[in-house]
Symmetry: C2
Subunit: 466 residues, 2 copies
Amino acid sequence: MELLNQIPIAMKTILDRRNFLKKTTAAGLSLTLAPGIVFSRNASSRQSSVSIGFIGVGGHGHHLIEHALKVKDVTVKAICDIKKENLERGLNMVKKATGLRPSGYGEHEYIYREMLEKEDLDGVIIATPWRWHIPMAIDAMKSGAYAAVEAGPASTVKECWDLVETAESTGLHAMLLENHCYDRWNMAILNMIRKGLFGELLHCHCGYEHDLRGRIVTGKGTGISREEVAGGDYRTLQNLKRNGDLYPTHGIGPVSQCLDIHRGNRFTSLVSMSTKSAGLKLWAEENLDSDHPARDFNWQMGDIVTTMIRCYNGETVVMNFDTRAPRPYSNMRRVQGTKGIWLQDGNAFSLDKSVIYIEGKSSHHQWEPFASYQKKYEHPLWQRYLKEGVVGGHRGSGFLKIRGFIEAVRRQKRTPIDTYDTAAWKAISPLSEESIEQGSQTVTFPDFTNRKWMTNKPIFGLTEKY
Amino acid sequence: MELLNQIPIAMKTILDRRNFLKKTTAAGLSLTLAPGIVFSRNASSRQSSVSIGFIGVGGHGHHLIEHALKVKDVTVKAICDIKKENLERGLNMVKKATGLRPSGYGEHEYIYREMLEKEDLDGVIIATPWRWHIPMAIDAMKSGAYAAVEAGPASTVKECWDLVETAESTGLHAMLLENHCYDRWNMAILNMIRKGLFGELLHCHCGYEHDLRGRIVTGKGTGISREEVAGGDYRTLQNLKRNGDLYPTHGIGPVSQCLDIHRGNRFTSLVSMSTKSAGLKLWAEENLDSDHPARDFNWQMGDIVTTMIRCYNGETVVMNFDTRAPRPYSNMRRVQGTKGIWLQDGNAFSLDKSVIYIEGKSSHHQWEPFASYQKKYEHPLWQRYLKEGVVGGHRGSGFLKIRGFIEAVRRQKRTPIDTYDTAAWKAISPLSEESIEQGSQTVTFPDFTNRKWMTNKPIFGLTEKY
């Protein structure tokens, strides 16, 4: 604080934030800044290109590099992955696409910190196992870079607070890379809500319903040995030792935006209920060799976890977390207001199968296919995207989330999904566990904005640009 | 108890139960009988025909008379309704169909007690406003008759206990007339569960989602004046003064049977969450004259109430109560186990639109239309019913529930939906209110069976006959 107070306000606006942060960190100073102090980038040196680093470039992270390379004026400057094959594949992909080979880091789990220290990064994209998301995002912001983290649970509510405090003290942002927020139907629904077609919102339903039994039990796709399975794969260990909604963000992301959460509204309470655990044990018995260690695992995770959340403005949300039973994929979406209702359930990702009812437009008490509404109320961002050409992977929404992050970094603006969203959406997991541990008692939802939700304005999906 | 102990067991089996009950009641004796004592009817005098009385023969009750007249060997002996036009219409219908005019009762709200006292009824079918269901069923059993009551909430948990205690002390039964239990798809699903197609059950979803705004706000169809609306119609007053799931039985009935509730399983806890109340006020503003008193009503009922229930055997149930917003009808059914899942949501009552996934039968991660399963796993009761000819009204299930009740009365057996079911399903309403009143705290679900669930066996849908 002392150091800050010695610098005139005018100076601060052109201060090289990253150097400042490194110096203050090195000097052991507290990173708590006065509220309202926002750093501006040294525009002259960096306007033309945004420098991005990646931590974790396995299956999903690899796609994120692909998307980043398709955004204009981006330099992928450094990549970190402790798996050599992932790292090499990532480095080679960038070299092939741009002619420049990024710096590579992979020697040990904490080598990413060396990358953050050495490289002059504007933004860091993190796609590591779940427990690393928030600690790495915090470290990235402390190094002076924006952070982007993949979907997945927080470990504790405390680390969500730490994330928020780091963002506020550094003036930087941590964006959850929630591609479902950018899905074509979800953005059309958001557009319709903003145009008033649903009236006053009342209720939403959402979920992550994806049969992942094989991947959970065996860690399939992670390259670990069958003996290492319980310790080595994030899904396996997390299902052995946790019971709650561990993958809430695909569901809650779009819902949160529909309900203006952190922009005039907030989550106030949460309650979760879990079924018994039967599906993973059964799957192991039916699919694994008789001596496979995973046959004897004692799964804490109930097969289906349902969560209810109440909002300050009186809406409710129901969420399903259902990855331990056989079923087709679904996100079980429902958005309901005083004027209409939209349902997308057994038909995720199928534009022509979800249904809608809008009072005064639909025939009395008859569902309509959503397809004509999709066309009529296409979000401006998607209208433009469809004209420019949709970039593949995750229904086109994977590219949009990366572009959204990078363009916010370039402009040094608040990310379209901001740190408060990231903290609250990921905090659903430990809150859900806490509720279940107490016999499904309703728990208070922390206000990560510290009352800023009362005045903050919507930021997501307001332009056609990014 | 003294009187009972003086009667040899052999005598008891031919005792005229009703006369006994009337005498003991008149003498002011406690009606608590020793457990296991069950009265048998004097078979010789009554085998040929079952005598039925009706209380409440308005819109729905009228249909129940129609159904009863189609059951073989039934005498509709008496009808009670305080609305003269309902009573006359009912009496005339029976006269026209059978040549015999039943006795009519209608002078005041408690005249039904005179009917119970004077008429020698085997069973009483009750379709009055909600708050009368359980008190009348208790009085019917005390008079020596089986009771059947329509769907709707209990007023309090206490009256559910009273119902159970009366049934146990009289050896009689109170059956909830839940036609959804007899719906063709629900019985096929039950059949499939019993054949093991879903594996071990994990989770069910159900609801009552029916846009009733006009009927709730104005009491439409009840014939009351607009000034009397708040006091006169059961839906209006109940929505003004209660907040909870007030219509749980259409949803929970079939679910309860799928989960063997009270037969090796039971509900253990419940939590409800309510949205704000916006829909009824808005409807009144948009649809009523500016001086209509209902425009100023202060509705306590939230627009959408969601309830989660946990079962002893580790399954969970989610229920929607959604009658205060515009939407097509739905019961939002989902049944899910370790081997498969069935969904019926935006497509209630449409056999060809619900979808199913059964591991090993369905193509990998693809929904199948339910229609072929319906045909293959048609419940034996429905196989026979389809051959005999389906009797109209409420999808054919209205007749089945009435026949089920009457045939249990004829045989003096436990009703297929028994008193414990009736008590527990109707108790969801006051339990739900209690949870909401405590800020959505999880409440304990009473064990109305007093541990008999540990040994009781399934009774519903076990034969092709009734």
